[in-house]
């Protein structure tokens, strides 16, 4: 059994190599492109027109860029922006680190591995509503199980969700709790794709477990890392559901993120304004995530 690496000798003449493109036919894009183009791209990007209107769903009046002006006048926009970036960085960073560590643990020969994997993945399965209510109850300042536990240790627990400065971080913790299983599974798939032979060879050479993690697992699970970073960073920037179930952006406006500001406009019936907000959020994400994605993928190409 030979390990095939990127530097394996080329076995085909160059003329045939040029033709090989035809073995990756463009029509493979077709089924996906039709569905995606018609049901997502077309309606979503044509709706951008409505960001230039006052829109009640029943009729729309063209008002130029007024919605954008109004969106940037939102009193808590800056707060929301800062929260959004903090939330995305904290949650995606933690998911990458914890997810990778958990994946290593869960692909090792830890006792009752299947059970532990199920436990870690279980939060991904539970509906966000259930997770939200559960943690709101557990984070209750006086009767919640978290602060009661801390009290046993002699620590006076904070108002996790009622303290305006803490609320966004408390939600971030729950988001990590709920999402880390997903990152772990993707990392597990990444680690699974690493040929066992590498580890065997390393074992023969007498490397320590840490070294094989550092020099085999880490670099070779790169595709997984890129995917997890991209998905969880963009997911973090767009995050909304959990914040909405747990704090509704509160107390007051203290845990608002851009997506919850937009949702509140949407629920108030300001459909044009919230479409404008979505366009702004889209540009914000594109500015942050596209360079990140290009950077991550380019490095991959060099290897």
């Amino acid at each position: 059994m030979a390990v095939i690496t990127g530097t394996a000798p080329r076995s085909m003449p160059s003329a045939a190599r040029r033709n090989i493109q035809s073995f990756y036919p463009a029509w493979f894009y077709l089924p996906a492109a039709i569905i995606y183009g018609i049901l997502y791209l077309l309606p979503t990007f044509s709706s951008v027109y409505f960001s230039l209107t006052r829109w009640t769903l029943f009729d729309s009046t063209f008002i130029g860029l007024e919605n954008f002006a109004q969106f940037f006048r939102e009193p808590f926009l800056i707060k929301g922006l800062v929260n959004t970036v903090i939330f995305a960085v904290v949650t995606s960073g933690s998911k990458v680190v914890l997810g990778l560590l958990l994946a290593v643990l869960l692909t090792s020969n830890v006792v009752a591995r299947g059970l532990l994997r199920s436990i870690v993945f279980f939060p991904v399965l539970v509906s966000t509503v259930g997770v939200g209510i559960t943690f709101v109850a557990m984070m209750h300042p006086t009767e919640g199980v978290i602060n009661e536990g801390l009290e046993l240790l002699g620590i006076d627990g904070p108002g996790w969700l009622t303290n305006p400065r803490l609320a966004i971080f408390s939600v971030a913790i729950v988001d990590i709790w709920k999402g880390v299983g997903l990152a772990t599974v993707i990392f597990m798939a990444g680690i699974a794709a690493i040929p066992q032979d590498y580890y065997d060879a390393a074992h023969v050479d007498g490397t320590s477990p840490f070294q094989s993690f550092r020099y085999i697992t880490l670099p070779l699970s790169r595709p997984a890392t890129v995917t997890v970073i991209t998905l969880s960073f963009i997911g973090g920037l767009r995050t909304f559901e959990l914040i909405w179930t747990m704090t509704r952006g509160g107390p007051g406006f203290s845990s608002d993120v851009i997506a919850s500001v937009i949702y509140k406009q949407y629920q108030a019936g300001f459909y044009g304004l919230s479409t404008a907000g979505n366009v702004v959020l889209f540009i914000l994400i594109a500015v942050l995530a596209v360079p990140l994605s290009i950077y991550l993928n380019r490095k991959e190409g060099h290897e």
Binding site: M1, A2, V3, I4, T5, S11, M12, I20, Q21, S22, F23, Y24, A26, Y29, A32, I35, Y36, I38, L39, Y40, L42, P43, T44, F45, S46, L105, S108, N109, V111, A112, L116, I119, V120, F122, L125, V126, S127, G130, V131, I133, A137, M138, V145, E148, V185, I186, M188, A192, A193, I194, P195, P223, T230, I234, T275, L281, F282, I285, A289, V290
Partner: protein, 275 residues
């Protein structure tokens, strides 16, 4: 890991897991078996009386057995959407990773856009009404495929990079066509990724709430997340029934996970490419 280390690490893992994961699960299950009044306190306490059966029956029979209809609809929705997603997104990921073309930049951007821009509901409904997809289960299937495509393509593209091109070339030399290369060589090697996609997307689609709400109205079309609203509202929530419902609807995705989670790791041996 060997001997003592293995048990020490395992013990530590289970100790942490107990606090971090088991306590919230226990909260959910305990709340699900309380009576309504005790559950409304939402505290971490032992039920004064167990109402496992009562609550279960009530959840299942509410609104003319809505949960049962919803289970059937959600299962059809999930299975069909995930099947289409796997094939279509693997095809895109494959060609996108392999074929060098000046369009790749744009295609990559459009795929990322799917993660960045929330879909516009009302124009989508207008469009679906125009082409006769609105209010149809297969219409919603296509919607779910469209909305989850980006995620799957990203995953596939990343992992297809780990499959050496030389395998494709060897197959081509053996006379395989494009479909043969893809379906017989590449797709089987992607099994760990496919298992991951199946697990992750089944959960996401099974638990989807917003899209069925808007694109598939009507009682006979109820899907599983909508049943949670039978017990939860702005003014009053029956927490015991809500949590019983949550427990109930978590079981199918859990079974999917238990089955496919082995497959993800089964790839550990299959993934080491045999030359």
């Amino acid at each position: 890991m060997r001997g003592a280390t293995r048990y020490a690490v395992s013990a530590a893992a289970y100790l942490i897991a107990t606090f971090v994961f088991i306590v919230p699960f226990a909260f959910i299950v305990l709340t699900a078996v309380k009576d309504q009044r005790q559950s409304s306190v939402l505290d971490f306490s032992w039920p004064t009386e167990f109402h496992v059966w009562d609550n279960l029956v009530e959840v299942i029979t509410t609104r003319n057995w809505m949960v049962v209809t919803a289970f059937i609809n959600s299962t059809i929705l999930t299975v069909s959407s995930v099947a289409l997603l796997v094939v279509f997104s693997a095809m895109v990921g494959f060609v996108l990773q392999r074929r060098k073309s000046p369009w790749n930049g744009l295609i990559n951007f459009l795929i990322l856009a799917g993660l960045m821009m929330p879909p516009a509901v009302v124009p989508t409904i207008w469009l679906m009404q125009g082409i006769g997809l609105f209010g149809k289960l297969y219409g919603l299937v296509l919607i779910e495929v469209a909305y989850h495509l980006s995620f799957c393509v990203l995953l596939y593209r990343a992992f297809i990079a780990t499959i050496p091109r030389e395998l494709d070339e060897a197959a081509i030399i053996d006379g395989a066509g494009p479909l043969g290369v893809f379906f017989r060589i590449v797709l089987p090697l992607l099994w760990p990724v496919t298992a991951t996609v199946i697990v992750v997307q089944s959960v996401a689609i099974f638990n989807d709430f917003v899209n069925p709400l808007y694109y598939l109205p009507g009682n006979k079309n109820a899907t599983i997340q909508l049943t949670l609203y039978n017990f939860q509202s702005q003014y009053q929530t029956a927490y015991n029934l809500l949590f019983m419902n949550i427990v109930l609807i978590t079981i199918p995705p859990l079974l999917v996970f238990l089955f496919f989670n082995r497959q993800i790791i089964a790839g550990m041996t299959a993934g080491s490419v045999k030359g």
